[in-house]
């Protein structure tokens, strides 16, 4: 019996796919937006594994065996940082036996370190909910931040894989040019959004709000990561009573109940933004992510 079990286990290992020799480094991206950015700069030279899909909450993913295996082999780790992955990334770093992706190494790139964080809490107390000491980590909802991270990513790829330098720089130049054009286009489209007041479900969009000039009047989550109680929802209802709030913003992952409740009482439209690449059928890559985001916001203004 025992021998049969051992034999079955061994057979399982042997059947596991062998390591595919990629021309360049192997990157592990924690979230889909960074995966898309690695694809844009790394091209086909970089093999990529993305730890979460758009339907998984990066706060709550677990340090799955598949991620341990990926972290063991990765040459570059691209994550948001700012404690967004605090529930699982430390396990990967401690147990993968891979010094290349440890903090301080070129293979450890945290996007939040490349930009200025908003909503840095003045007071650190868990009674305030699941707050991030460094500031709000959802930085990729402002496309200007993506441009900054792209620049840092290019430098890291060049350091890790000098042979691929020409390709990385060329793809970065192309990405930057495309991105500048897209930014102008989005800016022009977004003019009517400046000064529009919104209610958000989770505080997932401060960077988007800052970019477009949206004004967040209230958040349905009283404390980040904690489901709101009825008293808080009543307070939100009172707070927005006299104000020209136009819509309720949520990510596809936010609990829809509180938003529905508020929508029923106020008639405000609920706008589910894609939030990240793959978050809606239209958001296929970084460019279409922001196209789809603006589509959703402008639609709700009509």
């Amino acid at each position: 019996m025992r021998h049969r079990i051992v034999a079955a286990l061994l057979a399982g290992f042997l059947a596991a796919p062998a390591v595919v020799a990629a021309p360049g480094p192997l990157a592990l991206a924690c979230e889909p937006e960074w995966g898309a950015l690695v694809e844009a700069i790394g091209g086909e030279r970089v093999s990529l594994q993305v730890a979460t899909t758009a339907r998984q909450d990066p706060h709550r993913v677990e340090a799955r065996p598949s991620l341990l295996a990926a972290a063991r082999r990765a040459d570059l780790l691209v994550c948001t940082g700012a404690d967004l992955e605090a529930g699982w990334l430390p396990v990967l770093l401690n147990r993968a036996g891979n010094p290349r992706i440890q903090p301080g190494q070129p293979g450890h790139l945290m996007a939040a370190d490349q930009v200025t964080l908003l909503e840095r809490p003045a007071r650190l107390d868990r009674a305030e909910g699941d707050i991030h000491p460094g500031g709000n980590p959802h930085i990729h909802t402002d496309p200007r931040n993506l441009a900054r991270v792209a620049a840092a990513l290019t430098e890291r790829l060049v350091r890790i894989d000098p042979e691929g330098e020409a390709g990385y720089r060329e793809r970065f130049a192309r990405f930057s040019a495309d991105w500048r054009q897209a930014l102008d286009r989005w800016r022009a489209r977004a003019t009517p959004l400046a000064g529009v007041e919104v209610v958000v479900s989770h505080k997932a969009f401060p960077y988007l709000q800052a970019w477009l000039g949206l004004i967040e009047v209230a958040a349905l989550e009283e404390r980040p990561g904690v489901a709101p109680g009825p008293a808080h929802l009543q307070a939100v209802l009172r707070a927005i009573d006299a104000r020209p709030v136009r819509m309720i913003l949520r990510t596809p992952l936010d609990d829809p109940d509180a938003g529905r409740w508020l929508s029923q009482r106020t008639g405000l439209p609920i706008v589910t933004l894609p939030y990240t690449v793959g978050g809606s059928p239209a958001a296929q890559d970084l460019t279409t992510l922001f196209d789809a985001t603006l589509d959703g916001l402008l639609e709700a203004l009509k």
Binding site: G12, V19, Q56, V61, L68, R72, R95, T116, G213
Partner: protein
């Protein structure tokens, strides 16, 4: 451009206003009033636009590159991460003269020292767990787990591990929870139920886990599928071994584990472990079936076990926030071989009983399912079953009782976690660990975590 036109029109309006009544007839007045109203409306619209643009600009983050901030620029900033876990419970259970598991020798703490809520009843303060962890330097990381209980501070873990060896290899030295099995390396605050599985209590005592003092080497294979191999060399002083004054190895352990994803929604892991240790004069009590008295025996020999573990987790789209199913099962087989000596101080007629050979073969396991049915709420069901197996006492076989019994327990729990850091739990267990005793146990428990709580393994 537009602004300058507006300014000149305003100037005109002001001039007209001052000299208005003298110059204008009725028709002019009406026309001018209409024009003025129109201009005012235009002006207000433009002003509102400008205000919105200013608001938008003010809300933008500065474009300059950030200066990395050094938090708390004092030596204190290098202090280790501190985490404190507070546990307590109310436990309703039957009074038992001698708690334990029929057919299994009592491990670890013995009867006087049940500080883990094992057999005590009423309001109980469980161990308070204090964890300090930090990188030592660029090569090592260290962690200390203390369990604070009345009159004692237990060092549950105190280890250093390498972080820069590379090639998937990690070495850990000190005291650490052994990597054997699945639940063994979980601390009590991470348990899915308020108590460890019965098999862990049978194998390692009330603590429900096996800690090594020694060295652990582990290696993660460079495969797309996770595969980890580990070897442990230890002192072997913990139950089922005993403290022995000698050089060399007291306990050896080895494990192999693997796992992966099935689609986006499911993940699994499975493992096989082996632990071998030795005991010298490990005392336990046996029942004399002839005289009905207790016989104190001291076992010296080897204790070897295999543990098989499997875990399957499912969540819709792999997002465990609102719904998740966790299926978990482990089983063991343990063989102990050696000599049983009679402890003469405690046993009156040692010579008659004729203790000598000792050989036991025992097995058991558990299966559990925990389901998160809404955000923060979980329900769980666990079945434990052991077998007293084959108990062989050589020449004393006729004299000592050799129970043939299958200790079992069914546990049901519901827990609520308002945040990642707190958990309240209600648990019911129908415990038939002891032959002819059915114990209905109720537990209400809190587990609260303060400070920098380390992330949990899968």
């Amino acid at each position: 451009m537009q602004q300058s036109v507006m300014v000149s029109r305003l100037a005109l309006m002001v001039a007209l206003g001052l000299s208005g009544p003298a110059l204008a007839d009725e028709g002019d007045l009406a026309r001018l009033r209409a024009e003025m109203a129109q201009l005012r409306a235009q002006y207000e619209t433009r002003l509102a636009e400008l205000e919105r643009e200013v608001a938008a600009l003010a809300a933008q983050p500065p474009v300059s590159r950030p200066v990395p901030e050094v938090r708390g620029a004092t030596a204190a900033a290098f202090n280790p991460e501190v985490s404190l876990v507070l546990n307590g419970r109310y436990r309703h259970a039957r009074a038992l003269a001698e708690p334990g598991i029929t057919g299994f020798v009592t491990g670890g703490h013995g009867h006087e020292d049940e500080d883990h809520g094992g057999a005590r009843r009423g309001f109980l303060l469980d161990e308070s767990e204090l964890v300090l962890a930090a990188n030592v330097d660029h090569l090592f990381r260290g962690q200390l787990n203390l369990a604070l209980v009345d009159d004692a501070v237990e060092v549950e873990e105190a280890w250093v591990q390498t972080v820069a060896v590379g090639h998937g290899a990690t070495a850990k030295a000190g005291r650490f929870l052994s990597g054997i099995g699945y639940a063994n390396s979980q601390h009590p605050h991470a348990w899915d139920f308020s108590d460890p599985a019965l098999m862990y209590v049978a194998l390692f005592g009330e603590h429900g886990s096996y800690a090594q003092d020694g060295l652990q080497l582990s290696w993660v294979a460079p495969l797309e599928q996770w595969l980890e191999l580990g070897v442990e060399l230890g002192r072997g002083s913990a139950f089922p071994g005993t403290e022995r004054d000698r050089d060399g190895l007291g306990a050896t352990a080895a494990f192999i584990r693997t796992g992966g994803d099935v689609g986006d929604s499911s993940s699994w892991r499975a493992g096989l472990s082996w632990l071998g240790t030795r005991a010298a004069s490990r005392e336990s009590h046996f029942d004399d079936g002839v005289l009905g008295e207790e016989v104190a025996g001291a076992f010296s020999g080897t204790s070897r076990m295999w543990i098989l573990d499997a875990l399957w987790k499912w969540a819709p789209d792999g997002n465990p926030t609102a719904r998740q199913l966790m299926l978990q099962a482990e089983s063991f087989r343990r063989v102990e071989r050696g000599d049983l000596a009679c402890v003469e101080d405690e046993t009156p007629d040692c010579a008659d009983i004729g203790l000598g050979d000792y050989q036991t073969r025992q097995w058991g396991g558990y299966v559990q399912a925990v389901y998160r049915f809404r955000r923060g709420w979980r329900a769980g069901l666990r079945f434990d079953r052991l077998s007293s197996g084959t108990l062989g006492y050589g020449a004393a076989n006729d004299r000592l009782e050799r129970p043939e019994y299958a200790p079992r327990r069914t546990s049901l729990m519901v827990d609520w976690s308002p945040s990642e850091f707190s958990r309240l739990r209600l648990q019911y267990a129908r415990d038939r660990s002891l032959e002819a005793v059915t114990d209905h146990q109720w537990t209400v428990q809190y587990v609260m975590s303060l400070g920098a709580h380390p992330a949990h393994a899968f």
